[in-house]
Amino acid sequence: MYTEEMQKSIKKVEETRQQRMENEPRRMSAEEKEELLKGFHPDYREEGFVEIKVGPNKGQKIPVELGKLLHSNSRILNEKIDLNQVDYDVDVLVIGGGGAGSSAAIEAKEAGANVMMVTKLRIGDANTMMAEGGIQAADKENDSPVQHYLDAFGGGHFAARPELLKRLVMEAPDAIEWLNELGVMFDKDSEGNMVTTHGGGTSRKRMHACKDYSGAEIMRTLRDEVLNLGIPVVEFTSAIELLKDDKGQVAGAVLLNMETGDFCIARAKTVVIATGGAGRLHYQDFPTSNHYGATADGLVMGYRAGAPLLYQDTIQYHPTGAAYPAQIFGALVTEKVRSLGAMLVNSEGEAFMHPLETRDVSAASIIRECSANGKGIDTPIGKGIWLDTPMIEMLGGEGTIEKRIPAMLRMFMNYDIDMRKEPILIYPTLHYQNGGLEINGDGFVAALDNLLVAGEAVGGIHGRNRLMGNSLLDIIVFGRNAGKAAAKKAGEVTLGNLNLDHLQAYEEELKEAQVQTDDVSPLLLPRYARHER
């Protein structure tokens, strides 16, 4: 499967393997990391960003592609929609069918609320399903939530909101316990001890996993529970704008049936935005590890209604996306591959960095190796770096790869690459939005009554970079909290008459800022169809 050039380079990787195995590469100093990030991380490429012209974050920078969506028109600006004809009338409306949305719905239901979920694809078509490596929680003797806090705070460049990060780490053990009680099959030894490993930037081995189907195992369990509880899930239906009432409270959403094109109205006393990430916007032309629907819809509709963003200019590029073959370009190669011992190696067979630096540092280092240092491996699409997977079998014994990372083995075997015997080629892929809508500790948007946000759509939990395994954790912790809080709040809310006045107001702002556009947002689905004419 590999080209002749690649095979020549593999020879060099093999020649240095034994020696590399005996020497752990050193970690970078704080100064080295800072210089590397400034020079090579995509967040520092000025041409990748524009200035926001309207709304609460006016004047700040944002990725070009997301900025374009904020500067677009509402899909229903000129539609006549009868807001008195209410199709769904509920206590809690959860927008999004991933891990955060499902956790929120389960907890809202358990708290006695009348809750429904709406999702533009199916429940479970979400980044949660694709998370491979694991979920963090400080539940071992040598670890503590405080240590977890320190790792995450430092890894996120000391920018996380302390009250959010505190919840993340303090409620982590309970989140694992909750999942375990729902029947998630964590990797355990025969005594019941969780099998835990390192992730990039962790100081303790606290990565819990379900082989390399961690997110899938969590998601399919949550989905099963949502269905067991009889929570209505309206699929293939997008929320396209939030509704407000005459008191200015958030009061539901306008929905679009993705198949028929019909609009309908969901009235709700509280709304949870759990719409996930933005990988399918392909910032700076990066491929993505995200699912088909990751187009930042919740950010756009929340912002239009007046909810501020936080850290919208910081994006996570996962260091190891598949670089070859083309069919799986950009697909996630879990960090767990490095947790299990595989090193990052350049075309000359050199381990140019410690394999478990934080993700932003690792991604920047790989980009530097392939550009300034000229030691990348050519692929038909671009460049790549070797991830020396045969080391895993040498370190952990034969069969480790099949047992611990079967999805990875299967993905490459599909294209006749046996990662047990040959290294694989990787390059950074657009993976996660570190920023999102700003919330308080209870999950509410301060500027708008009755609106909550959970999961990847939130900004501030992780700061300006996120550690592996803290996102699967945050969707559970903040999803559950949002569900409980939304149910409780719904009991206190009385709604007035519905309106969409904020769309008109936003339009006026765009005009005043002299933004002219024929585009509409939210995007809903990426435009991948090729049309010859």
Binding site: G124, A126, M129, G154, P173, E177, N193, N228, H291, I328
Partner: protein, 224 residues
């Protein structure tokens, strides 16, 4: 010149680059996918697809996002399949043989044709995991079905009308909750947090100035 192949989507012919997957070939041909497309990386099972290569008898199943096109492929996606999930209260059921009998009695009508296994897009031994479920061997069923993405191709081919992925989910939840050994260290830590053992420590670290946090972070000891 790019190598091209002819494929047929729902019987209509398109010429597409040979290195595309079925999914990207459909998009290349102008389709906007509303259904039949989810994670695009082989984890969600949204893109269950059935095809036959012209001139060959065998009917094949696959995930559109994980399968490269080939010459003469006649392709139909399966945008939805009515698998039958039974509902239950996970707190009330127990991992006994009877539970399968109650919730999924049709598994005992398996005729052993092995069509499910042949249809599996993940190369799982589906018929075997159903056999484990029949015998109440939930742990084995859970392990053998673990890599299931729930595409439902197995169920489309089953003459007994079994919803295999749902049986796998039940077995895994029973295993995770009731059969796998309990994690004492987890229970202990949850108790410690509830009893406030970390409250003052976490408040302290939250209030530290950034300079001190940087020092703590950069000098922290990393477990080998």
């Amino acid at each position: 010149m790019q190598e091209m192949v002819n494929v047929y989507f729902y019987g209509k012919k398109y010429s597409v680059p040979a290195d595309l997957t079925i999914m990207t070939a459909m998009e290349y041909s102008g389709y906007t996918l509303n259904r039949g497309c989810g994670c695009r990386h082989g984890f969600c099972g949204a893109c269950a697809t059935i095809y036959r290569v012209k001139g060959k008898n065998e009917l094949k199943t696959c995930l559109a996002c994980q399968t490269q096109v080939e010459e003469g492929m006649y392709v139909a996606s399966i945008p939805f399949f009515p698998t039958d999930k039974r509902t239950y209260d996970i707190e009330k059921i127990k991992p006994t043989e009877q539970i399968m009998m109650e919730l999924y009695p049709e598994i005992y009508s398996c005729i052993g044709c092995n069509a499910c296994t042949k249809a599996c897009t993940q190369d799982l031994d589906v018929m075997q995991y159903i056999a484990y479920a029949q015998r109440g061997e939930f742990e084995k069923c859970a392990e053998a079905s673990f890599d299931c993405v729930g595409c439902g191709c197995c169920s489309t081919r089953c003459p007994a009308g079994i919803s295999h992925p749902m049986v796998g989910v039940l077995a895994r939840r029973l295993t995770g909750k009731y059969i796998a050994p309990e994690s004492e260290h987890l229970k202990k830590r949850v108790e410690e947090v509830i009893h406030g053992e970390f409250d003052s420590l976490i408040e302290q670290i939250m209030e530290k100035p950034i300079t001190e946090m940087k020092e703590l972070y950069n000098s922290r000891e990393i477990e080998k």
